[in-house]
């Protein structure tokens, strides 16, 4: 069966520090991968998505970047965190977007 792993579950980082959130999928090949940020009243905001290794589409210009170094690995990064980067980050995968499966999320607090 397919599973998705996302870590860490919670993270507290100082302003200006770097960020790396990792998401991996097991049990499937060539998934479409997504990073979302969930904020109250704004739903799930699509940040990045990828249909293959090295292929990244960015939705929102901001202080974040994404990479897909392996087929089932998706990384969200920042060189210098801002207070506004605080939020709940969710990774998801689909096959042909007929259903999305989500990780448990990372609660990021920038202090």
């Amino acid at each position: 069966s397919q599973t998705i792993h996302q870590w860490p579950a919670t993270l507290v980082q100082p302003v200006g520090s770097p960020l790396s959130l990792e998401c991996t999928v097991e049990g499937t090949s060539n998934p479409n991968l997504y990073w979302y940020r969930q904020a109250a009243g704004r739903g799930l905001q699509l940040l990045f998505y990828s249909v293959g290794i090295g292929q990244i589409s960015s939705e929102v210009p901001q202080n974040l970047s994404a990479s897909r170094p392996q087929d089932r690995q998706f990384i969200l990064s920042s060189k210098k965190l801002l207070l506004s980067d605080s939020g709940f980050y969710l990774c998801a995968w689909t096959i042909e977007v007929t259903e999305a499966f989500f990780g448990q999320g990372t609660r990021l607090t920038v202090v």
Binding site: G41, G43, Y49, V51, S57, V97, E99, A100
Partner: protein, 114 residues
């Protein structure tokens, strides 16, 4: 470009009353349509989806949604809600083209009161 609009941020209803959560979308390509539910302190779960065929789709817990292509809507309904239906509901659209883009609405918080 795609967009999903959930006009109601919160819908309070009494137990056993009917409810409708509205969802409208726009897209330049054909899309699949979804409703996801997030119970308090839990992750997102698929409630129901429209991929093709009958425009009326149902979930196992009594919710239904109807795809209306002319009105670009996918409203979620339940004839009689329970306290346990209290949750946040998200409408989503997924592109059928090779971009496989998947976007969500801003969510509607359903609050069921006794």
């Amino acid at each position: 470009a795609q967009s999903v609009t959930q006009l109601d941020s919160q819908v309070p209803v009494f137990e056993e009353a009917p409810v409708e959560l509205r969802c409208n979308y726009s897209s330049s390509v054909s899309v699949y349509l979804f409703w996801y539910v997030q119970y308090p302190n839990q992750g997102l779960q698929l409630l129901l989806k429209y991929l093709s065929g009958s425009t009326l789709v149902e979930s196992i817990n009594g919710f239904e949604a109807e795809f209306n292509k002319s009105q670009t809507s996918f409203h979620l309904r339940k004839p009689s809600v329970h306290i346990s239906d209290t949750a946040e509901y998200f409408c989503a659209v997924g592109s059928m083209d090779s971009s496989y883009k998947l976007i969500f609405g801003s969510g509607t918080r359903l609050l069921v009161r006794p």
